[in-house]
């Protein structure tokens, strides 16, 4: 932290890695009174070379390894990997496995969005909104645990299907939990999203216009809050998403309030999708039996899915061995990184938490 003082007006300090408001990420901020003159992000604090490490592991051993960057949305970062490997092997998962994957992916979306909501509450000073989503999130973690066996990083998807079937009695319990949570969401709306003090802090703050959003490459709910109707689950449907009907939430204003409301609406949509998938799920096998080491055919494949934060994209090059030759991951947080200095310039310092966390930037995922 150095003080660089030009004509005595500006003050430079770093909202550094050791700060309760930033996560593992450093933001060098230059302020003039209360206005931010410049904000330079400095990512790379938790880079550990995940892509290089994945070249030393077999296709199955990569599964626990590649889940770890985003532990709260682990199915989101793992889904395109198994889709890409299945394309390399030339197989397709059975239909029951596809619906179970939808259920798991949507559960993870709810878990990730409630975590985001609770940290957003505490950044704005609302301590009750820190505790309520964290408590209600446990219901969904328990549901995911009954399928996957662990609370985070389930290692549940494998190329060829999923590792085990749903436990008995899952459907009733999941539907009961979803009903309970929908009623709780009304309380969230009353105490937070319709709270006039929250509206004053986020309306008109950090406006990202439609052309700018497309130009800087924002993705996920940030893009949808600026008026662009784009969701990978509808544009390029994968894994039986085309049999499920729901509306994508889109807002035109592009400010922090719109981004919060898009994520709030996505919570309702995910509950709806889980209900529909549980009704449509067919009987059958959940996994294609594969014995021995998996060897992909020579070539490359790619797959794209919609994780909680945006579009996740994998590109795998294989040369016929048991290890992949190259795994390239394109993470949504890194795409959203260029929105941070763009939006912070010219805004109040006090708006920094509302804008920064409103973009849902996950530093570990961006650094891999």
């Amino acid at each position: 932290m150095e003080v660089v003082d030009q004509e005595g007006r500006t003050l430079t300090f770093s909202v550094g890695p050791q700060h309760p408001g930033s996560g593992h990420f450093r933001l060098i901020v230059k302020v003039d009174g209360d206005y931010i003159v410049d904000a330079k992000p400095d990512p790379g604090y938790v880079h550990r070379g995940a892509e290089k490490m994945s070249e030393e592991r077999t296709y199955i051993q990569n599964i626990p390894h590649l889940e770890r960057p985003v532990i709260i949305d682990s199915s989101g970062i793992l889904f395109p990997y198994v889709l890409a490997v299945e394309e390399l092997l030339g197989v397709e998962a059975p239909s029951r496995a596809q619906y179970i994957r939808i259920i798991m992916a949507e559960l993870n979306r709810i878990i990730s969005h409630t975590y985001w909501l609770s940290i957003y509450g505490i950044f704005l000073g609302h301590s009750t909104m820190f505790m309520w989503p964290m408590g209600d999130r446990e219901l969904f973690i328990d549901l995911a645990e009954s399928i996957g066996g662990t609370r985070v990083t389930f290692s549940y998807f494998v190329p060829g299907g999923v590792r085990n079937d749903l436990p008995q009695g899952f459907k009733e319990r999941a539907l009961k939990t979803c009903d309970y949570f929908e009623k709780r969401l009304k309380e969230y709306d009353r105490i937070f999203f319709s709270n006039p003090m929250f509206l004053k802090r986020t309306r008109g703050v950090g406006v990202l216009k439609r052309e700018d959003a497309i130009k800087i490459g924002a993705t996920g709910p940030n893009l949808r809050a600026s008026g662009v109707l784009s969701d990978t689950r509808k544009d390029e449907p994968y894994s039986s998403y085309d049999t499920i009907k729901w509306e994508i939430p889109v807002r035109k204003e592009g400010d922090a309030y719109a981004r919060a409301m898009v994520r709030f609406q996505e919570l309702f949509d995910s509950l709806d999708i889980i209900g529909q998938a549980l009704n449509l799920i067919p009987d059958g096998p959940v996994k294609i039996p594969m014995r021995g080491q998996i060897k992909g055919k020579v070539g490359e494949s790619f797959a794209r899915t919609e994780a909680a934060r945006g579009t996740m994209f994998y590109h795998i090059i294989s040369d016929g061995a048991t290890h992949p030759y190259r795994v390239k991951i394109s993470v949504p947080s890194f795409r959203n990184l260029s929105a941070i200095p763009f939006l912070l310039k010219g805004n109040h310092l006090a708006d920094m938490p509302a804008i920064y966390w409103g973009l849902d930037y996950w530093p570990v995922e961006a650094d891999k």
Binding site: R57, T150, Q168
Partner: protein
């Protein structure tokens, strides 16, 4: 005026919560009932080598059936790229099906509880149990020998049921 309406509605939503149940589970007096959906008798993750598919369950400490293990070390090979925590060690007793008398030893300081060793075993002798209280005060005792792994752990404590009461809030009894 809508400012005041929104303000008092928020206060009312907060005050209403005072009269509902708290969600907290008072560990260690109450323990979470992870066998909440009763799928099988043991509650842990198991894998069927013939059908090549697993059964849903909690991934806790492992259990090794020493009378079925042949020491093929497929579990150790599967773990090499993940956590590298399974070593094959020699055991004093001799078994009919295990010529070299070697069995897996798991180091829980490194294990990530992914369960791929269970998937890799072709003889159905390594499963996982729903036991998760493995904390000790020194790192050496985290290495569980095959004899320690072959005893089924005691699951003790009072399990709290989860009650999603809609009127007065979900709680753990």
């Amino acid at each position: 005026m809508s400012f005041f309406a929104g303000f008092f509605l928020a206060l009312w939503a907060g005050v209403k919560q005072i009269f509902k149940h708290r969600y907290t589970l008072r560990y260690p007096e109450q323990k979470l009932d992870i066998l909440m959906i009763d799928n099988q008798k043991s509650g842990g993750y198991e894998f069927d080598a013939k059908k090549q598919v697993g059964t849903a369950g909690f991934k806790g400490r492992h259990i090794l059936y020493m009378d079925k293990c042949t020491g093929c070390s497929l579990c150790a090979i599967a773990c090499e790229g993940i956590a590298d925590c399974i070593d094959m060690v020699k055991v004093d007793k001799s078994f009919v099906q295990n010529k070299k008398s070697q069995f897996p030893q798991i180091d829980y300081g490194r294990c990530v509880f992914c369960g791929f060793c269970v998937d890799a075993c072709p003889f159905d002798c390594l499963f996982e149990t729903p036991f998760y209280e493995l904390a000790t005060t020194d790192k050496r005792s985290l290495v569980h020998t095959p004899e320690m792994l072959s005893e089924y752990p005691q699951l003790k404590g009072e399990y709290a049921k989860f009650i999603p009461d809609e009127k007065r809030g979900a709680h753990h009894g």
